[in-house]
Symmetry: C2
Subunit: 148 residues, 2 copies
DNA sequence: CTCAGTGCAAAGGATTTGCATGCCG
DNA sequence: CGGCATGCAAATCCTTTGCACTGAG
């Protein structure tokens, strides 16, 4: 699994004309371990020896190479996760209070409905559809129990 | 229509303990006229006499009062539109190139599927669902014709 | 050797905030 | 009058950038 992931990442980076440096390897590893979208602060916390600017720069490189996806929620911090090409299509549960983002997968049937309906909806507006994104916004368990 | 909108906005502001000042009236009017989500820069362009800080502040007040919805796309600027309570439930077409946001309505049937599926999906994760948001990301007509 | 990658510090830039003044209720 | 609203300018703070150094190929 991990070996396979490494190979895919290496291939994508190479295709984009970049190296698979140890910092980048670490970033991918942190994201893989996290299993859910995390912020750059979190990355820096778990890998204190990484320079902030390098993390920002490398995540940008990895994003451009299609290895990583940047998630902007409206929370102060952007979140990052492995791109769907390396995982699988999914959506996000976003806590409006603490900003945490976690993954959800729609029932296949619903997803199919969307895939069937969205392209023509976009086309009707002269839009070339690239992808869609569905977020469920609410309050996570921790925030509802801790209350206010 | 407009009179009705005014009344609703006034009521919501009052309920939140705020005044329906002329600046706020103008903001609502700009958003109504726009008919699609716009950025603060656009507001300032069309109403140069409004102070930037007041626009930011008032949009925050209007958002808290449930009159306005802030849309964060990942583009540099946030977009604003009238809240769904004053319009109707809809989603967004986002141009990945120029950042423009426009409204779309899903076929009722698809929307129903979502409404049926999402709550339990969220509940299964200990999440209290507030609302969902579906964005179609692609390239708008202007950007595809102008190309690159 | 060459050039991408790294780290530190400084710059950027949308948004927020402090504070004095204006104005509605 | 009292307190919210407004404007100007300054401060915030996540993110980006400049620049000199390091290291892989």
């Amino acid at each position: 699994m991990t070996a396979d992931l490494d190979a895919q990442v290496a291939a994508r980076l190479q295709a984009a004309g970049h190296r698979f440096s140890s910092s980048r390897r670490e970033l991918v590893e942190v994201l893989r371990q996290a299993g859910q979208p995390i912020r750059i602060v979190d990355v820096l916390d778990s890998r204190p020896h990484l320079a902030q600017s390098s993390v920002y720069r490398n995540l940008a490189v990895l994003e451009a190479a299609g290895v990583v996806r940047r998630i902007v929620t409206g929370d102060d911090y952007a979140h990052f996760e492995l791109a769907e090409a390396l995982t699988e299509h999914h959506h996000h549960l976003i806590c409006a209070q603490c900003g945490t983002v976690s993954d959800v997968t729609l029932p296949a049937e619903v997803e199919h409905r969307l895939d069937a309906a969205l392209p023509e909806l976009a086309a009707a507006r002269g839009f070339v559809l690239d992808h869609h994104r569905l977020d469920l916004i609410g309050r996570c368990e921790r925030c509802t129990t801790t209350d206010r």
